[in-house]
Symmetry: C2
DNA sequence: CTGAAAGCGCTTACAG
DNA sequence: CTGAAAGCGCTTACAG
């Protein structure tokens, strides 16, 4: 319905075979020595009949759909929204369209979505996975579906992954806090702590304090109950082993929830509580106080992920680097982690 | 490569025709009186051989791809990111996958993207269009491609559109400011002011002040030069016909740019300058001061848009309501528009 | 209850 | 330079 005009129509209209038309339209005229004249007649007919090739038919024949599936936990999370945008630009520039799917950190939903994408014959998959082990995705990778992990890796699997230097980022934040006189951090992680990014941020952070002889309180909040969980955590300091003098929010959503909660309780940052966060947000440089955060190399991650994916998609037996590629992060020091007043 | 197992394989494996297998897999066993036993053997083979139907082949045959194209100006804009997420949920729940495309408010890019999506045989299109007239999209709609506009309409065309009550939202904000004693608003719009949403917000706002005998200064900033444009506007009040006592930011991005600029200039809100915004953001209820904003009915807009699109997609000669459907907005009064101190 | 056959709209050897 | 034919993997009348 949407496309009544087919190759046959235009072939008939020009008075040639559809083979010829196809060749011309695919830029193989030169190669097959098709006359300039014939080409022009074909192009004229295409314009006149307003022909648009049916990509579905082409895909069935060629085995390539020109589509990529991007799977993240939640496309409305600013980090993933920015990542999606950057990735979309790369994909579009290279002739691909991208399906975007949100998993809500649900392992089974992720599998359902990925299966659906594979049934749609996507040429490649870029996923920020919530799986707790590499098994399931490894099978997909081994079956020949080009797959690149982004943002999170799945341990020492042979899956290609492009991630931020999470451990180092955590360490940078910890050092900043320590230098400024903070000694008793509360780390707010996620119940999905098995996820590499979160786990490594926390490890990197805790290690630094440990090296200084300080312990951190580590608490987890639920992905779907972020706000209330964070609030009850901050509202009930008695439940912690010590009264924290600073906070490490493990991602932007946790930070936002914490800021919301602290604002409601009128806690002064950084005077009463220091605060640092992994993930930078535009508002972090606007609000009072500005928030110290680690900025992820989103553009670089997308660039590298797309590059690796493309290598796998052309698949000319090129050996694509398996393993984890870590990209450097940037520490943006702002007022929320300023020197603790005695 | 990704899918070596076809219907033929499983037909052979079970020892039946692929017609039968197809019927069973499409839940038509009942209808064709296929025995329970046969069905079970088919299902067993499917599981054993790990068969996944090739959606591309199915699409070519049925003319339905089970895909929808969502076209917005920028998926990384929080408003569109949230909208995309809501829409994705509805689509996924109904068996659709969604292509997401960003146009950067570029009319031609929008056309290129939409053409690409049509070539991919999407079953439907939801677009927040940057076109300055309805012509181009009307042709697509008339050609039979199910199309629903969202967020922005294209004038009194016969295109189906689901939008927020932009005019009313603008008026609500104006009334709030006026009641609080503000008299000299600076309206910061976008150079893409032809866009219905922006235009109506401004109209609704200005009308209210006009009704009170007050004039507004209206200025535009560029989509790609938002930050610097907003800043130079705020940094050079001499260029305005009067010194504004309040600001109306026409969307979340403008508001963010304004806040950034005002923070840098240490302008006190609302004491030195009142501020209201169209689009609510999580940070508006966190920052100091909290920001008065109109909240868009994103979930309702997506729900309605999907519903209308689906009607068009099944296309049982159902007469889908043409025209503009306006959904009510909500005014969230916060501190940034508090009473102006004399 | 079941199968052979046509066809969706392309691309690509193959033959001339 | 050009065309007839096969085939990608499905679904769906049609016939029995």
């Amino acid at each position: 319905m949407a496309n009544r005009v087919t190759l046959d129509h235009i072939a008939q209209h020009v008075g040639v075979s559809k083979t010829l038309v196809s060749l011309v339209l695919n830029g193989k005229a030169q190669q097959y020595g098709i006359s300039r004249q014939t080409c022009d007649r074909v192009f004229a007919a295409v314009k006149e009949l307003n022909y648009r090739p049916n990509q579905t038919a082409r895909s069935l024949r060629t085995g390539k759909t020109g589509t990529i599936g991007l799977v993240v936990s939640d496309i409305s999370n600013t980090f993933y929204a920015q990542l999606a945008r950057q990735f979309e630009d790369l994909a579009t520039a290279n002739g691909y369209s991208v399906f975007i799917c949100s998993t809500d950190e649900d392992v089974e939903k992720e599998q359902r979505l990925i299966t659906m994408l594979r049934n749609r014959q996507v040429d490649g998959l870029v996923v920020s996975s919530s799986q707790s082990n590499a098994e399931w995705l490894m099978a997909i990778n081994d079956s020949g579906t080009p797959l690149v992990l982004i943002d999170r890796h799945l341990g020492a699997s042979t899956l290609t992954a492009v991630v931020a230097a999470n451990r180092n980022g955590g360490a940078l934040l910890a050092n900043q806090l320590f230098e400024q006189g903070y000694r008793h951090p509360l780390v707010i992680g996620l119940s999905t702590n098995h996820i590499s990014s979160v786990a490594e941020r926390i490890e990197g952070f805790v290690e630094v304090f440990k090296g200084k002889g300080q312990t951190c309180a580590i608490r987890e909040v639920g992905f779907n109950t972020l706000q209330p969980d964070v609030h009850s955590l901050l509202a009930n300091p008695k439940l912690l082993p010590f009264k924290p003098d600073c906070l490490f929010a493990v991602n932007n959503n946790v930070a936002t929830a914490a800021l919301q909660s602290l604002a409601a309780m009128r806690v002064k940052i950084p005077n009463e509580l220091g605060l640092v966060c992994f993930d930078d947000l535009p508002y972090f440089s606007i609000i009072e106080p500005t928030i110290t955060a680690v900025e992820q190399p989103i553009a670089a991650m997308c660039g590298k992920a797309f590059e690796l994916l493309q290598l796998k998609m052309v698949g000319d037996s090129v050996e694509v680097s398996q393993g984890i590629l870590e990209l450097p992060v940037k520490l943006n020091i702002r007022r929320s982690s300023l020197k603790k007043s005695k």
